[in-house]
């Protein structure tokens, strides 16, 4: 199978100045991540806020250039040597954002919103553009009468359909979904998740699906990668990772997603919060919250090593 997306040992740091004259400090947002997604498949990326998953997404869409390493879509690097975006339109990735309210310009009617990506070089000309807009509305299940309406006239779920339609306008093959349903109501979430699945079947899309909840990511993905503080701690086929997690962090995520009532003995596995990436712990970054921590965890960084044929984990425990 051919890989559509290849992320090769990507690292991203931001220079942060703590005070006006203070010395610059490197914040490591993403540390040496490698991932690949075969054509037509979905990779789910799970992590809490601060795990670096959005930074990674931004490097895939080209919004951020990696400090080192590179991102390839269909073998083509997303950024050129100077860090400028090299892939646009159908060859690049498009993104579906989390918040359907702020991702649509409130002063543009739907037809204009959907046509906008088509006005960027190589331009799609007028009659064809109109046709494409109608096609997009059909694809995401909105009536054509939506063309003249403004974003505020739609519910959250319908807005997210508009956002998806706009992302599809240039016929990209890779779609980055950055928590596309977490701002929506439960009953609408399932509509959008189903829509994304249908579109994938219909158009042969490849998804990088980002979420902080394991339920929806597990439902959508063929493969899952779990991120913590800029690193991948576990990776493997979705059903295997969810059924039999190796890394204590994945185990904790799963147990906090499982709704066992507290009065029936439901517990909280993880204490504390994700440490600041400005001051990451030595050794294993998860050790400050890990229930299974031992001495070696503070000394050596555990490498992401194969655990079985298709699975990897970064933990000192064997």
């Amino acid at each position: 199978m051919t890989e559509l997306l290849q992320i090769q040992d990507v690292r991203k740091t931001f220079g942060i100045r703590s005070s006006f004259l203070g010395r610059k400090k490197d914040l490591v947002a993403v540390e040496g991540i490698s991932l690949r997604i075969p054509k037509g498949r979905t990779l789910g990326l799970v992590g809490e806020s601060g795990s670096g998953k959005s930074t990674l997404a931004n490097m895939v869409t080209g919004m951020l250039a990696p400090t080192s390493g590179q991102v390839l879509i269909d073998g083509q690097p997303v950024h050129d040597q100077k860090g400028k975006v090299a892939l646009r339109g159908e060859s690049g990735a498009q993104i579906v954002f989390q918040d359907p309210y702020s991702s649509l310009n409130p002063r543009m009617p739907v037809a204009q919103l959907l046509a906008e990506p088509l006005k960027v070089a190589p331009k799609v000309l007028m009659p064809e553009r109109e046709q494409r807009v109608n096609e997009l509305l059909d694809q995401v299940g909105l009536p054509r009468s939506a063309r003249q309406k403004y974003p505020h006239e739609f519910s959250g779920g319908q807005r997210q359909r508009i956002v998806i339609a706009r992302a599809l306008a240039r016929r990209p093959r890779l779609l980055v979904c950055d928590e596309p349903v977490s701002a929506l109501d439960v009953s609408v979430q399932s509509q959008i998740l189903n829509l994304l699945k249908d579109l994938q079947d219909e158009l042969g899309l490849t998804y990088l699906f980002i979420g902080h909840g394991l339920e929806s990511v597990g439902f959508m993905s063929d493969e899952i990668a779990v991120m913590y503080l800029g690193r991948i701690v576990e990776q493997g086929p979705a059903h295997q990772v969810l059924a039999d997690p190796v890394h204590p962090y994945t185990q904790a995520l799963i147990s906090s997603s499982e709704a066992i009532p507290f009065h029936a003995g439901g517990t909280v596995e993880l204490t504390g919060e994700i440490p600041s990436p400005l001051n990451p712990p030595s050794g294993c970054v998860f050790r400050t919250r890990c229930p299974l921590v031992t001495d070696i965890c503070a000394e050596a960084v555990p490498a992401l090593t194969p655990r079985s044929e298709s699975r990897m984990a970064a933990c000192h425990r064997r």
Binding site: E48, S49, S155, G156, G157, Q158, D185, V186, S187, V188, Q189, S190, Q191, L193, N194, K197, H212, G213, L214, E215, S216, G218, F219, H239, L242, A243, A252, L253, I254, S256, S257, E258, A259, I260, P261, F262, H263, G266, T267, V268, E269, L270, T271, E273, I274
Partner: protein
């Protein structure tokens, strides 16, 4: 005393817009016993938050209680003046909100804000430090000197909980308290609320759209749809064998751990807006079981401690039994 701590009966809250009265909550009833944890679930637009806010007497100016009663320990809240209501807040009823950042004043230290909350409840520094310790801060005196921006989202929500509970209120209202937080922090905060409610015998009314939050924390659940409570009962039973098609649909549409389905059930269409509400069942346009009968006001069917408003409970039950086989 057999009177429940809070009893909301047939509550109607309306938006008054240029002489027209549009109900937002339309005949909601629920009651909370001392120390009980009750959840209100529903989608946005269901009226769940408004119901919660009216128990606090904190409705925005555009909304008014137009019918029904809210009784707190036997006294009618809708009849109380603003000043008396204000005095109830804090020592008797406290509230925490969804967004812990905007709920705290960015310019004041945590200590100053806690003192303000404690002052009304006549709690001193000792109680404040004790409460901060209880909500899980390792070094309470240091937290007192910090300001909201120095804390993470989870820590801020802990501070909010400490502020709400420092006066040992009998009722804690929580409006989507964990929605803005990460999964692992969510369960920390919920566990904290559960433990405190248990230890201090505080009743909790939690508003959420998330069934897993409800399952973890609550004893009793009321499911709201389009301004009405369509189903209520013990959480365990309601979520295992719903007696309303809407509850069933909510359960089916959420992906769960180890989901092997290829598609999720989804509820077609969207929640009807108040101007589309009528006497009949409001879920009928989206309901797989709907018949012509549903155009008439659905009966309230009560059985032991469960209740629901539906014409077709028998068919729903039959379906569940079929699916179980």
């Amino acid at each position: 005393m057999s009177e429940p701590l809070l009893k909301i009966q047939n509550l109607q809250v309306s938006a008054t817009r240029s002489s027209a009265k549009l109900p937002v909550v339309d005949g909601a009833s629920l009651s909370i016993e001392r120390g009980e944890r009750v959840a209100l679930v529903g989608e946005s637009g269901s009226g769940k938050s408004v119901t919660c806010f009216s128990a606090m007497g904190l409705l925005p100016e555009s909304l008014q209680v137009t019918d029904g009663s809210i009784r707190y320990q036997g006294s009618e809240l809708t009849a109380l003046g603003a000043e008396k209501l204000r005095r109830l807040r804090g020592p008797e009823i406290a509230m925490i909100y969804q967004e812990p950042l905007t709920s705290l004043n960015p310019l004041l230290t945590i200590g100053a804000q806690l003192k303000e909350a404690a002052g009304r409840a006549k709690a001193g520094r000792r109680e404040i430090l004790e409460m901060l310790d209880r909500v899980g801060f390792a070094d309470p005196p240091r937290i007192l000197r910090q300001r909201p921006h120095e804390l993470s989202g989870g820590m801020r929500q802990r501070v909010m909980i400490a502020m709400a509970l420092v006066g040992r209120p009998k009722l804690l209202l929580a409006d989507e308290p964990t929605t803005a937080l990460d999964v692992t922090i969510q369960s920390q905060v919920l566990k904290l609320m559960y433990d405190l409610s248990y230890d201090l015998d505080t009743a909790v009314l939690i508003v959420s759209h998330d069934l897993s939050v409800v399952r973890k924390l609550a004893d009793t659940v009321h499911v709201m749809y389009a301004g009405q409570v369509v189903e209520s009962g013990p959480v365990k039973e309601v979520l295992a064998t719903p007696r309303h098609p809407y509850t069933q649909a909510l359960l089916d549409s959420a992906p769960h751990m180890g989901d092997t389905r290829d598609r999720l059930e989804s509820i077609p269409g969207i929640v009807p807006t108040p101007d589309q509400w009528d006497q009949g069942c409001r879920f009928r346009s989206r309901c797989p079981l709907a018949t012509e009968q549903c155009e008439q006001r659905p009966p309230k069917v009560e059985e032991d401690d469960r209740a629901s408003m539906c014409w077709h409970i028998d068919r729903l039950v039959a379906r569940q039994q079929e699916a179980a086989v």
